[in-house]
């Protein structure tokens, strides 16, 4: 809660520090500046007030459920943001699933086959994933599809009700581009976590009593190595939003992240403020979910207090 409050102050002040505001941009587009009109618009938008007055006004509005009005669209901010949320959430969930499916098994294999060629190949592959910008990977995927398959992905957003197949393809590609990067992180953490557990005494015990290697790895080692992996999944889910900023732009998907960039460029304060707060809330919520999962996965945490 305190974190949220602090974050709101930081975001608010930052946005006001920015040179130029929406009025300047609007007038620049119109090509002439009428000082009286400018004053009038500034007054109407409330940005002629001192900064702390604006902040208090905003807080008051947020607490009464009013997220303010978008300067640019002349609509309540919430109305503008709401239709964008499902797109980003769908992308984030898909990308997270892809990263788990790719990253966790790769990490386990890499740990079990430590220092073999396979381990090196997997590690280089994952490090490559961490090194490629997700938006570039997206561009290359599109390019490859166009030149080899002669297939051009739809340029505008297709809703699942319109055409589910095209919708699925449209979302799989960016999810793959973003998910590959997260899978690399997951693979690294899984690998080191499993490696650590494999050194424990109870693994030797399990082997000594003649248990199959597969059971030793998945039942005994993996189960105990999964905690740090869950933490990283939680953090990554929230931080995916950052990665989606550009990916949504490249794939032209109308999500929250792409809209954030546009709102920043337009200095649309209410939208930016509320979007960044929204991202902060998601980060905090996913931390909470991870904490709850901990208790469920690890009895030691549950009975600790």
């Amino acid at each position: 809660m305190l974190t949220l409050f602090g974050m709101s102050v930081v975001i608010f002040v930052l946005m006001r520090l920015a040179p130029g505001d929406i009025v300047d941009i609007l007038f620049a587009a119109a090509g002439y500046v009428n000082e009286a009109d400018k004053k009038l618009i500034m007054k109407e938008l409330g940005i002629d007030q001192p900064i702390w007055v604006q902040y208090v006004e905003w807080l008051k509005d947020v607490f009464t459920g009013d997220l303010g009005k978008s300067y640019r669209y002349d609509q309540p901010a919430w109305d503008v943001i709401r239709p964008l949320i499902p797109v980003t959430v769908e992308l984030a969930v898909l990308a997270t699933l892809i990263s788990i499916v790719l990253g966790v098994p790769a990490g386990v294999i890499s740990a079990v086959r430590q220092d073999t060629t396979l381990d090196y190949v997997l590690r280089v592959f994952s490090l490559a994933g961490l090194s490629m910008p997700a938006f570039w990977l997206g561009m290359v995927i599109i390019l490859a599809l166009v030149s080899w398959a002669g297939w051009i992905p739809p340029l505008t957003y297709v809703s699942p009700r319109e055409n589910f197949k095209i919708h699925a393809v449209q979302f799989m590609l960016p999810a793959l581009a973003v998910g590959y990067r997260s899978s690399a992180l997951l693979m690294r953490i899984t690998r080191s976590s499993v490696l650590e557990v494999m050194r424990e005494d109870y693994i030797r015990t399990a082997r000594a009593k003649g248990q199959g290697e597969r059971k030793v790895i998945w039942r005994h080692a993996f189960k105990n190595a999964v905690l740090p992996v869950v933490t990283v999944i939680g953090i990554e889910f929230a931080f995916l939003i950052g990665g989606l900023v550009v990916t949504e732009t490249v794939f032209n998907l109308p999500g929250v992240a792409r809209f954030l960039v546009q709102a920043i460029l337009w200095r649309d304060y209410p939208i930016v403020q509320n979007l960044v707060m929204f991202i902060a809330v998601i980060v905090i919520l996913s931390n909470l979910v991870v904490d709850l999962l901990y208790g469920w996965l690890d009895p030691r945490v549950r009975f600790a207090d």
Partner: protein, 306 residues
């Protein structure tokens, strides 16, 4: 008889300063060979970084064309003898632009990493050294900064500061501060309890001097590891910001900018516009990641895999 001035020799204090035999240091070359043998991937990363540094330093020599000169007669030229990696929609030579882009990427990456790690390091050092309420308040503030994805924070920052090279550096360094502060704080917390710190205090040495003179040098290992690890992500964030038009402004040839809208528009006709700058970014980040991993394993085994 004039009184002889008291020298260090008379008091016996010199004994304390007498040079102590140092363990023989391995030569630089031996160290390099040993590192290469033990960490081939790390050495490969170091090579990539070296290539990037060379490109950045000697960009003016390595270029084949002026990186910002337009050439209306040769727009979107495919890779050839004249344009090794092709030319863009304004006829600018991609190869020369990539070589010069290394300069921007490296300068922005290194400076923002340095700025962020040094500021964060100082915050972490003082926070851990003084402890108590100072530590508590600092940690809360860092929580706030860390609660946002790195890219989102950098995005808002660079929008707020306006597009200019030094602003981009500041915008990228801010999200690094809390990460650096955490790492240095953790390592200072354990060093603080060591006996030599207690001894220094018993000798009456001031707090700041203990913190900076006696504790700080011992956090260099984690500091270097942190720096190399952050360098890659700083380069990546710079590319992303420039791609979105919030980073390094024209006419500087920045890798991220080369990939932005105009490149996407011509991508089908001229795929080299998209491929080569992206490969440059990936190799640079890949190199610093490889090197960072190897350094971490060598300098700070406790952090392995984290």
């Amino acid at each position: 008889m004039a009184t002889k001035p008291v020298t260090a020799a008379d008091t016996g204090l010199e004994l304390v300063r007498a040079p102590v035999a140092r363990p023989a240091r391995a030569g630089v070359w031996t160290t390099v060979v040993r590192f290469t043998r033990k960490k081939p991937l790390g050495a490969a990363g170091a090579m990539l970084m070296l290539v990037m540094v060379v490109a950045a330093v000697f960009a003016d020599v390595l270029q084949t064309h002026d990186p910002i000169a337009t050439d209306a007669a040769h727009t979107l030229a495919p890779p050839s003898d004249a344009h090794w990696l092709g030319s863009d929609h304004l006829g600018r030579d991609i190869y020369s632009r990539i070589v010069h882009g290394a300069r921007i990427s490296l300068v922005v990456g290194v400076l923002s990493t340095l700025l962020g790690s040094v500021l964060g390091g100082i915050v972490g050092l003082l926070s851990a050294y003084f402890g108590g309420k100072t530590d508590l308040i600092t940690q809360r503030i860092l929580d706030i900064l860390q609660g946002l994805p790195l890219l989102v924070l950098a995005l808002v920052m660079s929008a707020a500061l306006g597009p200019a090279v030094h602003n981009v550096i500041i915008a990228i360094s801010i999200p690094i501060i809390p990460r650096a502060a955490r790492v240095i704080r953790a390592s200072v917390l354990s060093i603080r309890e060591m006996q030599y710190v207690e001894a220094a205090r018993a000798l009456g040495i001031g707090h700041l001097r203990i913190a900076f003179g006696h504790i700080l040098p011992n956090t260099m290992g984690p500091f270097i590891v942190l720096g190399t690890a952050q360098l890659g992500s700083a380069v990546l964030v710079e590319a992303t910001l420039s791609f979105l038009g919030l980073g390094v402004p024209e006419p500087y040839p920045s890798w991220g900018r080369m990939l932005s809208v105009s490149a996407a528009e011509y991508a089908q006709k001229a795929p080299w516009l998209v491929l080569f700058p992206g490969i440059a970014i990936s190799l640079a980040v890949f190199g610093s990641n490889l090197l960072g991993d190897a350094l971490r394993d060598t300098l700070d085994p406790r952090l392995r895999g984290s």
